[in-house]
C-alpha cells in the first residue's frame, strides 16, 4: 500500500544552518506515527516544512490522499496544503482568542465553503443553506471532541486543556486525511493527558484519520504510536515500533548521553 504522506530526503537550511538533513518519513493510512527527539532536533521545523510555512531547501513531500492521485506539495502555501487535506495544531496554542469556540471551528470549515462577497451581501438560498450547515457541522465536531458545553464561550476564557482540544477540533473541521499534532500534551495535567490519549485514539479509530504526532510525553508516545521516528540534530537517527525504539542504543544515547569511559 502506498503511504498517504511520503517525505523523501527533506532538507531545510536557514542561512548556513542545516536545521533538517535528508529526512525520510512516511505515514500510512489510519496510522498513528510519532516524531520524537530532544529539544531543538528539528521536529517543529519538519512540521513547518510540510505544512508550507517554510519552503524546504531540497527534497520531496508527496501526498496521496485516500481516493486521490499522488502529488508533490513542496512550496505550496499553507492554505493550499490545508485544502489538500493536511491540518495541524501548534506547539504554542494559536487559537483565535477573541472569537467564540464555535466560530473558531467555523473558521476551520472555511476552505470547504465557497460563498463569496456577493453571496454574503445578497444572502441567497445557497448561502443561507451553507451558513446553516456550517453552524451544525461545527457543533457536531465540538460534540465529538467534547467541547459542546463551551459553544458560545470566548476561546481565550477556556481552560488550558480545552484550548488544546479546541485546536484539534478546529483542525478536524478542515476535513483532513492526516492531522498533525505538535506537542498536544504539553502543559497538561495527568487527567487531561489521559483524555487526550482517548481523543487521539478516537480520531484514528472512529474518524479514520491518520495522525502524525510530535510529543515529549513518552507514555503517550509509546502507548499510542504504531511507529516512531526519532530525530536528533536535524537527522533521523532511528525508526521503528515502540518496542524497537525503547531498546535502540542510538536513541538512548541521544536522550541520555553516552557513558564516559574512565
Amino acid at each position: 500500500m502506498e503511504p498517504i504522506l511520503d517525505v523523501k530526503k527533506l532538507t531545510m537550511d536557514f542561512g548556513g544552518l542545516r536545521a533538517m538533513d535528508h529526512l525520510d518519513l512516511d505515514v500510512m493510512e489510519k496510522e498513528i506515527v510519532a516524531l520524537i527527539g530532544p529539544n531543538g532536533a528539528g521536529k517543529t521545523t519538519f512540521f513547518n516544512c510540510i505544512t508550507g510555512i517554510y519552503t524546504p531547501t531540497k527534497g520531496d513531500i508527496l501526498i496521496s490522499p485516500p481516493g486521490k492521485t499522488r502529488e508533490r506539495i513542496n512550496g505550496l502555501k499553507p492554505n493550499h496544503i490545508t485544502e489538500k487535506g493536511m491540518a495541524r495544531t501548534f506547539q504554542n496554542i494559536r487559537l483565535f482568542p477573541n472569537m467564540s469556540v464555535l466560530e473558531n471551528v467555523m473558521i476551520g470549515r472555511h476552505c470547504r465553503l465557497n460563498s463569496g462577497v456577493i453571496g454574503a451581501v445578497v444572502k441567497g438560498k445557497s448561502t443561507i443553506r451553507e451558513e446553516k450547515a456550517v453552524v451544525e457541522d461545527s457543533y457536531k465536531i465540538l460534540e465529538k471532541i467534547g467541547l459542546a458545553e463551551y459553544v458560545n464561550e470566548t476561546a481565550k476564557n477556556l481552560p488550558y486543556g480545552a484550548q488544546r482540544r479546541l485546536e484539534i477540533a478546529r483542525a478536524m473541521a478542515t476535513e483532513p486525511f492526516l492531522i498533525l499534532l505538535d506537542e498536544p500534551a504539553a502543559g497538561m495535567n495527568p487527567q487531561e493527558t489521559r483524555e487526550l490519549e482517548e481523543l487521539i485514539k478516537k480520531i484514528r479509530d472512529v474518524e479514520g484519520l491518520s495522525v502524525l504526532l510530535i510529543e515529549h510525553d513518552m507514555k503517550i508516545v509509546m502507548s499510542l504510536s504504531d511507529r516512531i521516528f526519532v530525530m536528533d540534530y536535524g537527522k533521523k537517527i532511528a525508526q521503528g515500533t515502540p518496542d524497537e525504539i525503547k531498546n535502540n542504543p542510538v536513541v538512548i544515547k541521544a536522550y541520555l548521553g553516552e557513558e564516559v569511559d574512565a
Binding site: 494559536r94 477573541n98 472555511h110 454574503a120
Partner: protein, 403 residues
C-alpha cells in the same frame, strides 16, 4: 479611610501640575506697560483642582481593574448597560422607531444649517463603517484611509469637469475606483503588519494628497475645483434648501445601505475570515484561509465606501481642494472607529455622531472644544479601551441541546 500614601501621591501630582502650568497660568507679561503680573490665584486653583482630580482618576482606575479581575476569576461576560438595552427587543424596537421618525422629520424641524451638519455626520458614519472593515474586522491599521475619500471626490469633480458625467453615474464609478485603489494599496502591504503597515498606509495617504496638490494639469493643484454640480433627480434642478434636504435623505438611504451590507459581510464566511486574520495570521493561513485574498478584499471593500462618500462630499460642498484630505481626516475617521468600538457597527455609528456633532454643538465653548475633545479621547482610552459599544460575539442556540 484615605491612606497617607494616597494623599502624598495626589500632593505630588498637584505640585507637578502647578510647576508645569506655572509659565502660562501664572505669569502674564504686559509688553506695553512693561510689567509682569503674577496671578497666584490661578496656581492655587490648579493645585487644588489637580489634587482632587487625581483622587477621582485613581479611584476610577482601581474600580476598573477590580472589575476586570472579577471577570477574569469568574469568567463572567461583562455585558455593559448599553448592550443589554440593545439585546432587549422591548427597548430597542421603540428606540429604533423613534430614531427613524426623528431622522425623517429632521430637516423639517431644524434649519438647513443643522441639516448640513447632520449630512456631514452621516458621511462620517459611512466612512467609519468602511474603515471599520479594515481596522476593526481585519485588524489592518490603515492611516491613509483618506486617500480613497480623495479618490472618490476627485473622480466626481474631474469626470464632471471633463465629460459632464452626472452624480448618479459617478457614484458607482467612485466606488469602483475606491476598490481599485484599495487593491493598489493592498498589494505592496500584503507582507506587512502592525506598525509597518500603519507607516506605509500613512505614506500612501500623503502621496495621493501631494499628487493632487502638485499635479496642476491633472487636478488643478491647491486651488481645487469649483462649481461641482449638486446631485440631480432625473434632471430636476433644486433650490439650495431642497438640494440640502435631498442630499440628507439620500445620505440616510446610503447609510442604511452601508449598515445593511457591512452587517451581512460581518456575519458571513468572509467576515469570519477577516476576524481570524486579525486574531492570528499564521493560524488563519494554517486553517486554509487565503491570506492574500482576504487582505485584499478587506482593503477593497473598505475603500469602496470611502470612494462613494468622496463623490457625495464633492457634490455636497460643490468645491474641493487637497486641503480637505489631510492626515487629520484619516485620524478623525480612525478615532471614530476606535472610540465607537472596533468591529461594532452600532458603536461606530454612535461614535461618528458623537465625534462629529459634539464639536459642532460645542461651538459656544469654541476656545475649549479641542481641549475637551482631546480629554475625551484620553479618558476613553484609559477607562474604556474597547470603545463605547464593544463588539459582542454572536451566540448560537441549539435546540434541545445544552446551549
Amino acid at each position: 479611610m484615605i491612606k497617607f500614601s494616597e494623599i502624598k501621591k495626589s500632593f505630588l501630582v498637584s505640585l507637578w501640575f502647578m510647576f508645569l502650568t506655572f509659565p502660562i497660568m501664572v505669569i502674564r507679561v504686559n509688553p506695553i506697560e512693561k510689567t509682569v503680573q503674577w496671578r497666584w490665584r490661578n496656581m492655587m486653583i490648579i493645585g487644588i483642582g489637580s489634587f482632587l482630580l487625581s483622587f477621582v482618576w485613581r479611584f476610577m482606575l482601581e474600580r476598573k481593574e477590580s472589575g476586570q479581575k472579577k471577570a477574569d476569576v469568574f469568567g463572567i461576560h461583562k455585558i455593559s448597560f448599553i448592550q443589554r438595552i440593545l439585546q432587549e427587543p422591548k427597548i430597542y424596537i421603540p428606540l429604533l422607531i423613534v430614531t427613524g421618525v426623528f431622522a425623517i422629520v429632521f430637516p423639517f424641524i431644524f434649519s438647513a444649517y443643522q441639516t448640513n451638519i447632520m449630512i456631514t455626520a452621516l458621511m462620517y458614519v459611512m466612512l467609519g463603517l468602511g474603515l471599520n472593515i479594515v481596522v476593526g474586522l481585519a485588524g489592518l491599521l490603515d492611516l491613509g484611509y483618506v486617500a480613497f475619500y480623495a479618490v472618490g471626490a476627485y473622480s466626481y469633480a474631474l469626470l464632471n469637469y471633463h465629460f459632464g458625467l452626472g452624480f448618479w453615474t459617478v457614484l458607482p464609478i467612485g466606488a469602483v475606483l475606491g476598490v481599485i485603489f484599495g487593491i493598489l494599496l493592498g498589494f505592496p502591504v500584503l507582507r506587512l503588519r502592525g506598525d509597518y503597515l500603519a507607516i506605509v498606509t500613512l505614506g500612501f495617504g500623503e502621496i495621493i494628497r501631494l499628487i493632487l496638490e502638485n499635479w496642476n494639469e491633472f487636478s488643478f493643484g491647491p486651488s481645487g475645483i469649483a462649481n461641482i454640480p449638486r446631485p440631480g433627480f432625473f434632471g430636476i434642478e433644486f433650490s439650495l434648501q431642497s438640494a440640502t434636504n435631498y442630499i440628507y435623505y439620500m445620505m440616510i438611504g446610503l447609510t442604511l445601505f452601508t449598515i445593511f451590507v457591512v452587517n451581512r459581510l460581518q456575519n458571513s464566511r468572509i467576515g469570519r475570515a477577516w476576524m481570524a486574520l486579525r486574531e492570528d495570521e499564521v493560524a488563519c493561513q494554517a486553517m486554509g484561509i487565503d491570506k492574500t485574498k482576504t487582505k485584499l478584499t478587506a482593503f477593497a471593500l473598505g475603500a469602496t465606501w470611502a470612494g462613494m462618500v468622496g463623490v457625495i462630499f464633492a457634490a455636497k460642498t460643490t468645491f474641493i481642494n487637497p486641503a480637505s484630505f489631510t492626515f487629520l481626516e484619516s485620524a478623525m475617521i480612525l478615532s471614530i472607529v476606535v472610540i465607537g468600538g472596533m468591529g461594532s457597527i452600532i458603536g461606530v455609528v454612535i461614535g461618528a455622531l458623537i465625534l462629529i456633532l459634539l464639536p459642532e454643538y460645542l461651538r459656544a465653548f469654541s476656545d475649549y472644544r479641542m481641549m475637551l475633545f482631546g480629554a475625551i479621547l484620553v479618558i476613553m482610552m484609559v477607562f474604556r479601551p474597547q470603545g463605547i459599544i464593544s463588539n459582542v460575539r454572536r451566540t448560537y442556540k441549539f435546540q434541545g441541546k445544552q446551549q
